[in-house]
């Protein structure tokens, strides 16, 4: 068993975890509040993109455009998630609008079918915007009355950690796609582990929160 085989097997873990998270999210959907419902939406869309990437990879041979699509999805979902929580909404609006314009321009201008020259900063920009929003929220909580609960703080820290690491790992996308160095597989495995851990945490969060809300609907 070599690294490539291990990576192939591990790659099926992501859609499996996503499927479980979607089932959990849909089951508890009526009891969840708006923020948690946005997370369910994010997981559903991530599952759709994962399936589409496998289909495109199998039939078309190229699924690189989905990096930009995934970046856009993450940006919009987490923008809506943080918009309701952050007091300084102007920051959110300015950052998100600028990022969306950039991502749309990438969708139009970048040639996704030329693998050798493909370099997208979509995930970098979307991850950076999410990191800034998470940091802004944390700052507001610390400087304000600090009404954040332990669960919300954990979720915010997980989002921050995941997107910060995503930004760094997916920065040299052309290298990850084109190089045949074993180091590339290691980076893809790191990325996969990050994905699986993040999706697992979101599943756990939805399960815990949904179960609590189901038992105590009044709060």
């Amino acid at each position: 068993m070599n690294l490539v085989f291990f990576a192939d097997v591990l790659s099926f873990l992501a859609p499996l975890v996503l499927l479980v998270s979607v089932i959990v999210g849909v089951y508890f959907f009526p009891y969840l509040e708006r923020g948690s419902r946005l997370l369910v939406l994010y997981l559903v869309l991530s599952l759709v993109i994962d399936v589409m990437s496998r289909v495109l990879g199998a039939f078309v041979g190229n699924n690189l455009i989905l990096f930009t699509v995934l970046g856009l999805v993450e940006l919009l979902v987490f923008a809506m998630f943080y918009y309701r929580m952050i007091r300084h909404k102007k920051i959110v609006i300015v950052l998100v609008v600028s990022a969306v314009l950039y991502l749309l321009s990438e969708l139009i201008l970048v040639d996704a079918f030329n693998v050798e020259s493909f370099q997208s900063y979509a995930k970098v920009v979307s991850s950076f915007v999410v990191v800034v929003m998470a940091m802004t929220y944390l700052f507001e909580q610390v400087r304000g009355d600090f009404l954040i609960t332990k669960t919300e703080l954990q979720l915010n820290c997980m989002v921050l950690l995941y997107f910060a690491l995503e930004l760094i790992v997916l920065l040299p996308l052309n290298f990850l796609v084109n190089s045949s160095s074993p180091f590339v597989y290691l980076l893809w495995i790191v990325h996969l582990v990050l994905l699986v851990v993040f999706y697992s945490y979101l599943t756990y969060y939805l399960w815990t929160f949904g179960k609590m809300k189901k038992q105590f609907p009044s709060g």
């Binding site: 050798e116 020259s117 493909f118 370099q119 970098v124 950076f128 990191v131 940091m135 944390l138 700052f139 610390v142 400087r143 600090f146 910060a164 930004l167 760094i168 920065l171 040299p172 052309n174 290298f175 084109n178 190089s179």
Partner: protein, 256 residues
């Protein structure tokens, strides 16, 4: 040629990664500083509030002492000195059938009463439950008193503890009479190797616990409980009554 083989592209990636790492580290440092500052401000506010409270208790203690001195002086002046002055006048006039013996006995009783009030006799030989029983007995004329004890272990309490707890119970009884308009009080005293518990409840008119301007009596009680390193928990419901729970742990104050 792939982009990753181009030196310029690699430099751009490295610059972005380093700038982002720098941004993250700076933000984390600023965040931790803000958290630390908030914690320190909260601790400072707590210390200041505690200091203010200690000052108020000390002030109360001094006021109570002065009030006690004034009461003793009034007692001596009105009761004992008055009788002694009358006795002096009568010895000067020399009434033949006057009962000097009776007058002197009355003066001695008064002096004894004032002395016992200041410091009960046989304090070191009496148990805490007996001392509390004696105090409550004298109040049965004005209140319906229900006194129960649960002595799990017979241990000696220090004299200072006995005196302070007696003063607390006396203060609570005075409060009930002056403010609560209660018909009955219930006192439960429990003593074990772990500590001492005293529960004092009345069926009076209660009061609003959130009132910040507590009277001298309540502050006096808090001051004494704090001196004994105990815990005081008060519960009051308007028109239903008040309940006070005092807990004292095993320490030098409680056990001699």
């Amino acid at each position: 040629m792939d982009i990753w083989q181009n030196e310029e592209a690699v430099s751009v990636w490295i610059i972005i990664a380093v700038l982002f790492a720098f941004f993250l580290i700076s933000v984390i440092i600023i965040l931790f500083r803000a958290i630390f500052k908030k914690m320190m401000d909260a601790k400072a506010a707590e210390s200041k509030a505690l200091l203010e409270y200690q000052k108020k208790l000390l002030q109360t203690s001094i006021e109570v002492q002065e009030k006690e001195r004034k009461r003793i002086a009034e007692d001596l002046h009105d009761a004992l000195i008055g009788k002694l002055a009358l006795l002096q006048m009568e010895t000067q006039v020399e009434y033949p059938n006057y009962k000097y013996g009776q007058q002197i006995r009355d003066c001695i009783d008064q002096a004894r009463r004032i002395s016992h009030d200041l410091s009960p006799p046989l304090l070191e030989f009496s148990s805490m439950s007996e001392l509390l029983g004696d105090i409550l007995e004298s109040w049965r004329k004005v209140l319906n008193v229900n006194y129960t004890t649960n002595i799990i272990s017979e241990v000696e309490c220090a004299e200072v503890f006995k005196i302070q707890l007696m003063r607390i119970v006396q203060e609570m009884l005075v409060n009930v009479q002056k403010h609560a308009n209660a018909k009955s009080v219930s006192v439960y005293y429990r003593q074990s190797t772990k500590g001492v518990a005293l529960q004092f409840s009345d069926n009076g008119k209660g009061f609003d616990l959130k009132e910040h301007n507590r009277g001298l009596g309540l502050k006096n009680i808090e001051s004494r409980v704090q001196y004994l390193q105990g815990v005081c928990r008060m519960n009051s419901v308007l028109n239903k009554g008040t309940s006070v729970l005092l807990l004292f742990d095993l320490n030098e104050m409680c056990y001699g």
